[in-house]
């Protein structure tokens, strides 16, 4: 595998992996501005061969920009980059890859209309036969526990599956420096363990790993050193193994870490009931749902764990009403709604936070006022077909205020908000409609720590107010933190529903891989 390292760096590669020579990569005084925003402001970073170096910071702190600078996808305005002690300029990702720098992006850069193997082939410097490459992909994905079908079309893949493609793509290139941007958010605990095993092995082989995350527990488990970035500046270095999670979080967000407060659960009537729901697969690589049944009570948070691509998209579409079902497959507060579309379900008390924010949950070109109107129009913003703009503006302003949405004001286009702030706005907009049932898909995916804490707290508060809340999430930590009961969707089948205190991450992780007992109808009826 090492033979693929470009010969240009061969001489320098002799430098000892852990030694006192120049670090593999040294950045000094890196600065980068976008229009009025200073994304990076004099950042220094040093990465040695064989170390696993955490870059810790909230979303919007500048981590992603910094990584793109290393990867050549973004050119810094100022500062120098040294690779093995030699000043270099990395003007394109191709150059970065030739030096052995690989990156797993947070926002995937895959061509949707091509297959997995075609996408991987595009990123390789040399031409390869697709058939051989597909075998290598299968090899690597088996070895690192990242199942990927090389011949699947990317547009059929879930968020989680796309990330796996990205990781496999990087590992194929035998990188000397591997940048991982939030890689574990969609993996099962077992898969995270497996990935960490892989990363530790890579590190032991001398590969440097830059691990970007805001998951403190993982950083403490995996990383040797951490550089903490806040608002484009380095605010500290630390050995994460010697810090508590609370201390790391404080360093990262610059103030005390907000904790979610659980409230005693008050179980009420059935808010949402799904009975024997069958949904055909959403395209040739989707997963058909087979006889899904569950009950969501008013006042509880029910979590549906599992990795995307196991029927999550199909279940969410069926619950929202973009896919229609027989009328008696879905009941909303006792009323059959399987056959009616999203607008009428909303009128019947459903609110919905979709997995995708830009382009689904919000229209990027439109203002927050218009995006409030998008789904909350039934809250008195439209009369006789005419838009009442002051009502829409008032609603948007309330969302902005109540959910601490950082933006230029209610007239700011949705696309100008950071992921976390936009998600807070969308959650606020949906909760503000006073629903009976709230369904959320991946509510905190790619959202910064402070926003995540706020969103989770609001979800818990909603349930305490007697609303039925359903959370479909790949983030097992999230499910265990906020849910009262939990089930797993794997292979298009739903596991038995367990009280969250009667199970643990290991069991759910096993279930996520499909190993759960067939649910008996009596057990569900008794629940």
């Amino acid at each position: 595998m090492k033979a693929e390292t470009p010969p240009a760096d061969g001489a320098a590669a002799a430098v000892s992996a852990q030694g006192d020579g120049p670090p593999l990569l040294r950045l000094s005084g890196i600065a980068k501005s976008y229009a009025a925003v200073r994304a990076l402001d004099g950042v220094d970073l040093e990465v040695r061969a064989g170390e696993t170096h955490a870059v810790l910071g909230e979303n919007g702190a500048g981590k992603s920009t910094l990584m793109k600078v290393i990867y050549g996808a973004v050119q810094p305005d100022a500062g120098t980059i040294e690779w093995e002690g030699v000043p270099v300029s990395i003007t394109a990702p191709t150059e970065a890859r030739l030096r052995g720098i690989a990156m797993v992006f947070q926002h995937f850069a895959l061509f949707e209309s091509s297959t997995v193997v075609e996408n991987v082939a595009l990123a390789l410097p040399e031409k390869v036969a697709l058939k051989k490459l597909a075998e290598r992909i299968a090899d690597v994905s088996a070895r690192y526990g990242l199942p990927v079908n090389p011949y699947q079309y990317v547009h059929r893949l879930s968020v989680g599956e796309r990330q796996r493609v990205e990781i496999v793509r990087c590992l194929l290139q035998t990188p000397r420096l591997l940048i991982m941007d939030e890689p574990t958010s969609v993996l099962t605990p077992q898969a995270v363990d497996q990935l960490f095993e892989t990363l530790r092995r890579l590190a032991a082989e001398g590969t440097a790993i830059v691990y970007v995350s805001h998951k403190l527990e993982e950083i403490r488990r995996l990383c040797d050193r951490a550089t903490i970035i806040r608002q484009g500046k380095v605010v500290g270095h630390t050995d994460p193994r010697r810090e508590t999670e609370g201390r790391l979080a404080e360093l990262m967000i610059g103030r005390t870490f907000p904790h979610t407060q659980r409230r005693p659960k008050s179980e009420g009537a059935i808010a949402l009931e799904v009975v024997g729901l069958d949904v055909p697969a959403d395209g040739p690589f989707g997963k058909p749902l087979k006889s899904i049944s569950f009950r969501l009570h008013a006042g509880e948070v029910l979590g549906i764990a599992g990795i995307s691509g196991n029927g999550q998209a199909e279940l969410l579409a069926a619950l929202l009403g973009t896919t229609l079902s027989p009328s008696d497959a879905i009941f909303l507060t006792g009323v059959p709604v399987g056959h009616i579309g999203a607008a009428r379900r909303r009128a019947a008390g459903l609110a919905f936070v979709p997995e995708e924010r830009l382009g689904v949950g919000a229209v990027p070109e439109l203002s927050l006022v218009q995006n409030a109107l998008l789904t909350a129009y039934q809250r008195g913003m439209v009369r006789h077909g005419l838009i009442r703009r002051s009502d829409a503006a008032g609603y948007a302003e309330r969302c902005i205020k109540d959910y601490d949405v950082r933006c230029a004001g209610p007239l700011a286009p949705a696309g100008s908000l950071s992921g976390g702030n936009l998600q807070k706005f969308i959650v606020g907009r949906e909760i503000g409609q006073a629903p009976r049932v709230l369904v959320l898909g991946q509510p905190t995916w790619g959202v910064d720590v402070a926003a995540t804490a706020l969103i989770r707290q609001r979800i818990i508060d909603m349930a305490a107010d007697g609303i039925g809340v359903l959370v479909v999430s790949e983030d097992l930590g999230e499910i265990l933190e906020i849910c009262d009961r939990v089930a797993v969707l794997a292979g298009g089948r739903l596991s038995p529903v367990r009280d969250v205190h009667a199970t643990n991450a290991e069991e759910i992780g096993r279930w996520m891989a499909g190993g759960f007992p067939e649910k008996s109808d009596q057990a569900e009826a008794a629940a």
Binding site: A342, P364, I387
Partner: protein
């Protein structure tokens, strides 16, 4: 390898968004002057004959408005339609059907219906345009056919329908076999504005159909900017997945967009046959339905920009005629100007959103990672 690439700008300038039609017009005039010079004309003289002379008389102004009015009407409908990502290219055919329906009323009922004839023609024309547009709507919404192809091809069908009617059942028996209908009576014609005693309009062809357009402009603006269905259409155009998530019906959007476009084009058809044409004949093919596509684009799909764009396009038509008469230049020069204008407009719009950057990367460049 040296090359160029387009990089998306972080934030497109609002000012330049507004200025880009102005810039396109300025560049068109500049290149136009160069073309006149290349054709051996004094550029300033040609410019005068092209842009100033046509509107220097009352008659010229009225001809300008006579052409701009149907362009504006159709352009308004298309702007609303295009905002919803419904690409109705067949407004020309929908206009023909408006003319056909109005003509049907005129030649059959103008003797008996009296003053009610013209209002009936207006309604029939709008209905005709909507019916023709609904064929496209059915194909797109129910059968998932591409509306661009369907609406365009239906235009040729509509043209053949005119030919069939004026060569066959509707042909004027006293017309010596010419393919045209009888001339409409006054009951079936829009009264000339001059007939209301405005002296300065004496001898012009401007008629009251222009008021249909004048009413349509604020109506279109109001629909697009102030009504919820207008908002839903816009969301469907900008982010179809968001519209589905919000529960807006995409079939309904296709129907609304096509019907509005068809009604506007049908009304334009009435204003032609019951206006300057005064009959239906086989040579009536003013291309307004196609030119209105440029009008809607030039107006950046904003209803208040459409009238300005329509006036400009009408001026290009008239200017072409004037330079043909005065300077013996071919009339095709107005199509050159139309083409230049559209090209500069689209070009400036690209540069508002992107900037050109020089690249020096290898052939198998930064493919996926750079996006």
């Amino acid at each position: 390898m040296m090359g160029f690439e387009l990089k998306r700008r972080a934030a497109p300038s609002r000012l330049m968004k507004v200025l880009c039609p102005v810039q396109a017009i300025a560049l068109t005039i500049l290149i136009g002057l160069g073309i006149f010079a290349a054709l051996g004309q004094d550029p300033l003289r040609a410019f005068y004959h092209f842009f100033i002379a046509p509107v220097s008389t009352a008659n010229g102004v009225s001809e300008l408005l006579l052409k701009a009015s149907p362009l504006c009407l159709i352009g308004l409908g298309l702007a609303i339609s295009y905002r919803a990502n419904v690409w109705n290219i067949g407004a020309e055919g929908q206009m023909y059907l408006g003319g056909i329906f109005a003509t049907g009323i005129a030649i059959h009922f103008q003797q008996s219906w009296g003053a009610a004839t013209l209002p009936a023609m207006v309604i029939a024309g709008a209905v005709g345009g909507m019916l023709w547009a609904s064929l496209t709507a059915v194909c797109r919404a129910q059968l998932h056919a591409n509306e661009i192809l369907v609406s365009l091809m239906l235009t040729y069908v509509a043209n053949l329908l005119i030919k069939y009617l004026v060569f066959g059942p509707w042909q004027d028996p006293n017309a010596n076999n010419f393919p045209l209908t009888v001339n409409f009576d006054d009951n079936a014609l829009f009264p000339l504005l001059a007939s209301f005693g405005w002296d300065w309009l004496e001898g012009t062809r401007l008629n009251v159909s222009i008021f249909i357009t004048l009413v349509a402009i604020p109506l279109a603006w109001f629909f697009a900017e102030r009504t919820f269905p207008g908002f839903q259409l816009m969301v469907g155009g900008l982010a179809p997945a968001a519209a589905r998530y919000a529960g807006y019906s995409d079939k309904r959007a296709v129907w609304i967009a096509m019907l509005i476009g068809g009604a506007a084009a049908g009304l334009a058809g009435v204003s032609e046959v019951a206006g300057p044409i005064g009959q239906l004949n086989d040579r009536w093919a003013p291309q307004y339905g196609f030119t209105a596509i440029i009008v809607a684009t030039l107006a950046r799909l904003h209803p208040l920009g459409v009238p300005l764009a329509a006036l400009l396009m009408a001026l290009l038509y008239l200017g072409g005629e004037t330079v043909q008469i005065e300077l013996q230049l071919p009339q095709a020069i107005s199509f050159v100007f139309q083409g230049l204008l559209l090209m500069f407009l689209l070009g400036s719009e690209v540069l508002v959103h992107y900037r050109i950057r020089r690249t020096r990367t290898a052939a198998r460049a930064s493919v996926p990672a750079a996006v």
